[in-house]
Amino acid sequence: MMKMKSASLRYVASRAGGMLIVLAIVAVLVFVLTRAASGDPVSVLLGDQATAADIARVQKDYGLDKPLPVQFGYWLREVLQGNLGTSIFLQRPVTQALWERAEPTTLLALMAVAIAALIGVPCGIVSAVFRGRVVDQLFTGIAMLGASIPSFWLGIVLIQIFAVSFGWFPVSGYGAPDAPFMERLHALVLPATVLGLLNSALIIRFTRASMLDVLGEDYVRTARSKGLSESKVVLKHALRNALVPIVTVIGLTVALMIGGAVITETVFGLPGVGNLVVSAVLRRDYPVIQGALLVIAAIYVLINFSIDLLYAVVDPRVKV
């Protein structure tokens, strides 16, 4: 038992180490990107209102006359203390702006993942079980189609049909700030459907591939030889083993949603993080761009790390 515990710790530690290195590189990339764009990090930190005297003072305080790697160090220190700068246009700390916008994006991502999984996993299983038949070709084809549709186009189409013509959903927006929670969820249905539908393609393909792998295994033949019904064989014996890669891809889909939210939020006028980033880019609001990139990339890395850990926990055979 003790041996297992120290081995687990070693595994976690090595994975965490890798994650930290990637985060460090991410930080460097973001720093370099923003410097390249804005040129002067001080105005990025202080905002447009700074006077020449302020700038000179801060430059000396922050040692900006020092070489670049040192500047990076100062910047990083600020970031790790939670200071992501102040938005030029919103006149608020970036962290606050991000936090205010977190809810719509998070809810959207979760709803979209739920829709994608609810469509993707069953379709993938059916596709695998009836491999080669019409159903399989149909689902695989739909999955391929889903990966070819631009999200903004689908968004506009769905708005036209369901919001404008049928009037079932709001054309855009997220409801008033004091609107009840259900109303806000209702506003998210169409955008979540767009994101969910398009990303279900990946889940269908992955589920199908994983199930096919497992269905070809010897122990599935053993299960059949015991006289179990086909649905028991597929849903109990095969699916349990196919689940790990499927859960992995669902987890990755969460990360994909963050990127996908950018366009969807713009089309549907949702006050989320994606929308914030787009307007920040259009307005050259560098603190926001920088902060958002850092946070989003960090979340992505953390999600991947968690999936790695989950893998080790769920599968009793993983050599930990």
Binding site: D218, T222, R224, S225
Partner: protein, 345 residues
Amino acid sequence: MTNANTTPRLTVSNLSTSFPTEDGLIRSVADVSFSIQPGKTTALVGESGSGKSVTSLTLMRLLPKTANAQVSGSASFVTREGKTLDLLQIGEREMRSLRGNQLSMIFQEPMTSLNPVFTIGEQIAESVRLHKGLDRKAALAHALHMLELVEIPAAAQRIHDYPHQLSGGMRQRVMIALAMACDPTLLIADEPTTALDVTIQAQILELMRRLQAETGMSILFITHNLGVVAHHADDVVVLYAGRVVESAPVRPLFAQPEHPYTQGLLACLPGKARLPGQPKPKRLFAIRGQVSSPLAPPPGCAFEPRCDLALPECSVAMPPLIETHHGREARCVRVQPAQPLVRSA
């Protein structure tokens, strides 16, 4: 076959299994007939590609659906209740009620034949609950009993183990426990010891022999190893290229093999490195040549290209399977059909 007075547990008649492929139709099993007596072991012998595994999978109806197998012939199975069913004709539901119950199978690869995410106790119990209707507790108790029966040490603790915590030999014992959990009348064992160490092989075979003696089940033993056959089978059916080339009770087969292929197989055994009547050679014997491709079978006898005793008529047409003695058959132009007993007046 031995003692044809009792009804065989399984009678296979003219079984054929073919697979359509991009390159043509592959006849893995062609016109195979044999029977297995209750309480006896019939060995199905042949090299890779002879069709022995396909035969067993066909009987269990476990061929993959994507293979699009074409099956013909019949397989009469006598159930515990005395009913006779054709395994190839009955509905899937009825087949499922037999599988794992009266008719079970153990496979060649113990390392991969058990589901890695369930404990061995659960996997055995599942079978019992399905066919005997026991509740979870009773089923697990029965599973424990089975594990003890197959001589798994510390069974009470190991019942909660996962397959990867067991060695190959142990896993095969678990497979046997699984297959026998519902007291089958016919056990199909597809090369159950091939993947195991020699010492473990002997233990497993001994275990199977003991279980057979205790329960009276029949065994269809599929193997390429004649040494095993000599010690554990009652009847032998030799397959070559999907066809039966010789069948006989075990002692007569070993004493006087009739088909050149069987003679060759026996000559391959190091202890028997000589053909009858020849002086003992100094080299190991091997049948020359290889099995022909299933897509391009020879026009006559399938073994003719490799046969040292071949005659011109062997490459013209496939010889028929002839009864040579009581209970023996061979498919060769060189064998004499059994003479009907002539009673002098």
